[in-house]
């Protein structure tokens, strides 16, 4: 953990709950046939509904409901009958002066998300709502309070959003980042959203409070807005939790506030206090009827769901006999199918995972499961050293082929152990002092000297020798003297 994102403060516990808004990957808006695309010319992806023109009426997008149900199922939520409500406020980003959202009857009730380390983070709800337009403040250096006027683009107004409200189950900046990463992976996997934080299609609001370790009662929370990346999320939590602890330590109180994260300054500042909080006067949206998904529809959606990241971690972990956490990287890189196929062909799981984690960071390229399994077999059979296997693997990734032929083309041949034995023997004879130091040294000295001997052998053999075998010979010789 880098110091700047470290949110651990001695004697204090940080409590975090996240509200994540994700734009749903539909072709059109939530309540009309205007297009839902990123980056169009301003005010071209609009129609009477998204502009709030008098007489226009909303009609619900079926695909958006289906995607919302997918999100609910992926987050183990109760998918339930729901209604829409008007959230009233005056702000030019919503031309009809209210946002259609869900209030007391969200489409998805309680659920949970499993982090790669196995911990379950509670989900309070995940509901549908429409996105707002985008305001740009002109004059005053872009600062909202000093702007001389604002320009509004309604392309985003009415884009379907799913708002996922998490329970305050997160305890550090690392937790929060792991949660958002996992949530993003889930949303992308099920095709609900592209999850691009940098384009604003996934946005995170963060509720932070602190309490002394051992205290049961929650502290007063502050909501931090304007977090645009995972890095900002970590920094904002570190800053905000420190600020609250400092206040309490000085004998002051934390006020319930909405605060704005300033990325450049690396700090949060007050947007509004509890007293200034909006009264949205929610009431049922009279222009929309309830959504009551049938059991058949929900089952149909469930059947069509792909394997989720968590399920893929468990599947690989079971096959390789490791903890799910250790399978996370392979799943994140999308290499778990390849790894499983290679294991099915008899490849040693441990070696497969070592390659996936250390040598396949850029994906599998032209590497096939057959080639991978054959390569690992050569390696475990002693025909290739680890170093040679890595070289052959890189070739299989970039241009494919038969690992045996690739190895032969590199001139890799298994070195007979008798030949290696001879090389080690003469090396010891040439360096008696190093040998004595190895034999009589403590663990760290032995490690240092064995590194020296292996390095020398590698040099002599141009990397053809098996480092593990050299170590074995050194060990054997030092104990059998």
């Amino acid at each position: 953990m880098s110091p700047e994102t470290c949110s651990g403060i001695d004697g204090w516990e940080v409590v975090i709950g996240l509200e994540v808004h994700a734009e749903l990957a539909t072709a059109t808006k939530l309540f009309s046939g205007a297009r839902n695309e990123f980056g169009g010319e301003p005010n071209t992806q609009v129609d009477p509904v998204s502009l709030g023109l008098p007489g226009s009426l909303p009609v619900l997008n079926e695909k958006a409901v289906e995607l919302a149900i997918r999100v609910g199922l992926a987050l183990n939520c109760v998918v339930q009958p729901s209604e829409f409500a008007r959230k009233n406020y005056f702000y030019p980003d919503m031309p009809k002066d209210f946002q259609i959202s869900q209030f007391d009857q969200p489409i998805n009730g309680e659920g949970w998300l499993e982090l790669p380390d196995g911990r379950r983070i509670g989900i309070e709800r995940a509901h549908l709502e429409e996105d707002t337009g985008k305001s740009t403040h002109v004059g005053g250096g872009g600062r909202i309070h000093e702007a001389s006027y604002s320009l509004v683009d309604y392309n985003r107004a009415g884009v379907p959003l799913i708002e996922i409200v998490g329970k305050p189950d997160l305890r550090s900046a690392d937790d929060a980042r792991a949660y958002v990463s996992e949530l993003r992976a889930i949303l992308v996997t099920i095709g609900a959203s592209d999850g691009k934080m940098e384009e604003g299609s996934m946005r995170v609001d963060c509720n932070v409070s602190v309490r002394p370790v051992g205290e049961e009662e929650l502290g007063t929370r502050c909501e931090v807005k304007n977090i645009n990346s995972l890095r900002s999320l970590g920094r904002a939590i570190a800053y905000e939790s420190r600020r609250q602890v400092d206040l309490i330590t000085l004998g002051q109180k934390v006020d319930q506030q909405t605060r704005h994260w300033n990325e450049e300054e690396g700090r949060t500042h007050t947007l509004r206090s509890k007293e200034e909080a909006f009264d949205y006067r929610y009431f049922p949206e009279p222009d929309l009827v309830p959504v009551v998904p049938s059991t058949e529809w929900i089952d149909q959606i469930r059947m069509a769901m792909p394997l989720l990241p968590g399920e893929r971690r468990h599947r690989l972990a079971e096959e390789a006999d490791i903890r799910p956490e250790a399978a996370a990287l392979a799943v994140e890189r999308g290499l778990d199918d390849l790894a499983l196929a290679a294991m099915d062909l008899g490849a040693d799981p441990a070696r497969v995972l070592v390659h996936v984690e250390n040598n396949l960071a850029d994906g599998q390229g032209t590497l096939t499961a057959d080639g991978f399994a054959a390569l690992v077999a050569m390696e475990t059979g002693g025909e290739l050293t680890a170093t040679q296997a890595k070289t052959v693997l890189a070739d299989l990734v970039s241009s494919g082929g038969d690992p045996a032929l690739v190895a032969a083309a590199h001139g890799f041949e298994a070195m007979e152990s008798s030949e290696l034995e001879g090389l080690v023997e003469s090396l010891i004879a040439d360096h008696p002092e190093d040998w004595e130091a190895f034999v009589g040294g403590d663990e760290s000295e032995r490690k240092k000297k064995s590194g020296f001997f292996v390095g020398q052998i590698m040099k002599t053999t141009k990397g053809q020798a098996d480092g593990r075998l050299v170590n074995e010979i050194l060990e054997r010789r030092s104990t059998s003297r």
């Binding site: 301003p42 009609v59 695909k63 009958p81 707002t132 683009d153 807005k225 509890k274 949205y280």
Partner: protein, 116 residues
């Protein structure tokens, strides 16, 4: 996501309640209007309160008078793309109908405070 400010207390509607709601709705009411609307709103609420005379145990609350649910549209664009001439004309007309626009965006007075 939840209303955080205090809601007016239940019971007979007061002049303060009406003033509060008027403020939220950005309505500037005179004292006489406040007085008049308080009486009228109280009458409306009294009328609705008649429902309380009925035995409604076990009746599910409804938010809609229509026996309808799941009214959907297919996820298909109903308007042309950026380069469709008719659609462009609509977009231009809409902008032209606004009091002011700039760079294809609606120009509005400076907004105090941040979006909710």
């Amino acid at each position: 996501m939840e209303p955080e400010a205090e809601m007016p207390t239940p019971g007979r509607i007061t002049r303060d309640d009406v003033a509060y709601v008027a403020r939220l709705a950005r309505l500037n009411l005179t004292d006489a209007e406040l007085e008049g609307f308080t009486g009228q709103l109280a009458d409306v609420l009294d009328h609705v309160a008649d429902i309380e005379a009925l035995a409604l145990d076990g009746v599910v609350p409804t938010s809609h008078p229509l026996p309808l649910s799941n009214v959907f549209r297919a996820d298909e664009p109903a308007v042309g793309s950026d380069d469709d001439a008719d659609h462009r004309l609509f977009c231009e007309e809409v902008l032209a109908a606004a009091p002011a626009f700039e760079e294809s965006r609606f120009r509005v007075p400076p907004v105090l405070g941040e979006a909710p």
